[in-house]
Structures are given as structure tokens and as C-alpha cells.
Amino acid sequence: MIMKQFRHEPLAQASYLLGCPRAKEAVIVDPIEDLGTDFYVLEAADLGLSIVGVYETHVHADYVSCARELAEMNGVPHYLHESAQGLVTYDFTPIKDGETIEIGGIRLEAIHTPGHTPEHTSFLVTDTARSSDPWFVLTGDALFVGDVGRPDLLLGDQAVDVMDETARAETLYRSVTEKLFTLPDYVEVYPGHYGGSTCGGVNMSGKAVSTIAFEKQFNLAMRQPNAKAFGKFVHETAKPFPENFERIKSYNLGLISREELKGAGV
């Protein structure tokens, strides 16, 4: 299996290519417009791989996604958790918690990890050519190295903002403790952001890889004794809101057009 992490330094964002060199197929996870559709298409082509799917861990608020365009350009599905139905205005291929998808020798398992956003999903990845046990998990904005995704980024549309910040923080705490920290200790953690991103708090590491065991032991947010203390800690260590996050989120939800987004200077 080929796994490439693309770091976009200005926003401390990480997107991923997972490819099967046998099947000559690849999927892209969390593509960012700043790198652009051509970037991902050419990266896959350089490896002799065809893109067969585009996945998003969630609808992002801090950067413009190019998942829709990338999926359309390649004529392949754009996957989001099923609960994004009703949140976004465009068509996508819904995935359920626990659903698995095989791309050649790669197995992706969707783990619904709400909290940062209601539809947030992590992807547990197994290289079946190596073992039937999982290798790593793409944690999006649920779990970062040293921190977690902030639960206070309200959506552009207040009508779909279903939970208050405290409730979201508790949901996130449960997602991490019950669904990610129950994975084997050796499983590697590949997050959607690293230090410098405004999607987490001040304790995010600049390193964009970790393990479940390391995070259990050293993640400051997750070291809080309970969900309530966790919520308080996350709130107190949060950074300023990302620039233009309401407009960006509105665009990523399909509520405003590319022109309206550009008009806002994004």
C-alpha cells in the first residue's frame, strides 16, 4: 500500500492519498482547494494510480474543500457520513458507521466520531496485503497529536447547528474515549491538522503522526478526568476562530457559490 501525507503548511492541514500498487487504484482524503484538484490528480498519476474515490472526514470550516470538484473530475463517488444529508445541499455517497470499503488491498472502515461536527467520521485503514489487523487511523479533526478538534466552530447556517458547545464537547470526548482509544495501542494516528492550525487548541503538536498509545498517555485534552473537565479545558485552550470560517463552512456545505465565496475575499 502507498500512503502519502500532504502537508499544507499555511493552514497546517494534512490531506492523504491511499493507493494500492496492485490494483493501481487510489483514494484521496480531505483534499484542500489551496493545493487544488490538479495537484491530487497528478500525484496519483505519477504513481500510476487511478483515483476511485474522494473521502471527507467532515465538512470543514477552516479551509475550502475541493472534494466535490475532484470527485466530479474523476467521475468517482464523494463520500461523507450519512448524517451530512440535510446539512449539505449537494449530492454525495453516504457512508455509515462501521461500513467498510475495499480499494484493492486497502480496507477503509468508517468510524463515526462526532463532536467537532455532527457528521465527523474517522477512517481506520488496514493493509490486507500485510495483515488483517488495522495499521493506522485518519482521525480528521476528532483527534490531533496532543489535542482534539475544537467543538465550538458553529456552522454558517444556525438552523443546522443542533448542539451547544458543551454538548458537542461531551460528544467529542465520548467519540475519542469510546471509539478511538478502544483501537489497538499500536495503531498510528494521522490527523487532519497539526500545530499552527486554528481547528485545535494551543497544545497541538507540529508533528502530524502519533499512535493511539501515545495519545492516551500524553494528549493533554484527553488527560482531563471527565467529559465536563474536558469541555472546560478545550474551551480555555482554544485559539481565535479561523479566518472567514462562516463563509468557508457555508461554501463547503453548498450554501453559497464559489463566486459568493470569492466575493468575501476568501
Binding site: I2, P21, D46, G48
Partner: protein, 83 residues
């Protein structure tokens, strides 16, 4: 790290099979007997190609290993054939 000191480095990362060997063969021609070429490649076909090429040409593959990010590193010593 191997205690061999390369004379020259060839970066063949991103090249498709058999181009890492084709480029290495070209580089080797410009080297002298005993010189060492260090080759970086990402094409996994290189793992089979460099030993085959060494056997075929009489040059010596001193050592090879894989680095963490999928980069294959080869050390090839030039051996002038005596005719």
C-alpha cells in the same frame, strides 16, 4: 548507516521502471574504477533491477536498504572490466 562513502549521488526518485537503472548506467560511465554511486529510487522494481544489472555488468552492489518514507537507497561500486 553503511560506512561507504559515495563519490556521487543519483536522485532517481519518482522515475518509473527501468529508468533508475538506465540513469544509473549512464552515471556509472562517467565514474572511475572503484568509485561509488549512491542511488535514491522509489520504483520498487529497482530492488530486482540493481542486483541483476550489477551481475550483468560486473559492477558491485555493495549494499541497499529502504528508508522510512519508501525511498530505496543503493550503493554501487564501479568495477572496470579487464579485457
Amino acid at each position: 548507516m553503511p560506512d561507504v562513502q559515495e563519490t556521487k549521488i543519483l536522485d532517481a526518485r519518482g522515475l518509473l521502471c527501468p529508468m533508475p537503472v538506465v540513469k544509473a548506467a549512464k552515471e556509472m560511465r562517467s565514474l572511475d574504477d572503484g568509485d561509488i554511486l549512491k542511488i535514491l529510487a522509489t520504483d520498487r522494481g529497482s530492488i530486482a533491477d540493481f542486483p541483476a544489472w550489477a551481475e550483468d555488468t560486473g559492477n558491485e552492489l555493495l549494499e541497499w536498504h529502504e528508508e522510512g518514507d519508501g525511498v530505496l537507497v543503493f550503493y554501487m561500486r564501479k568495477v572496470e572490466e579487464e579485457d
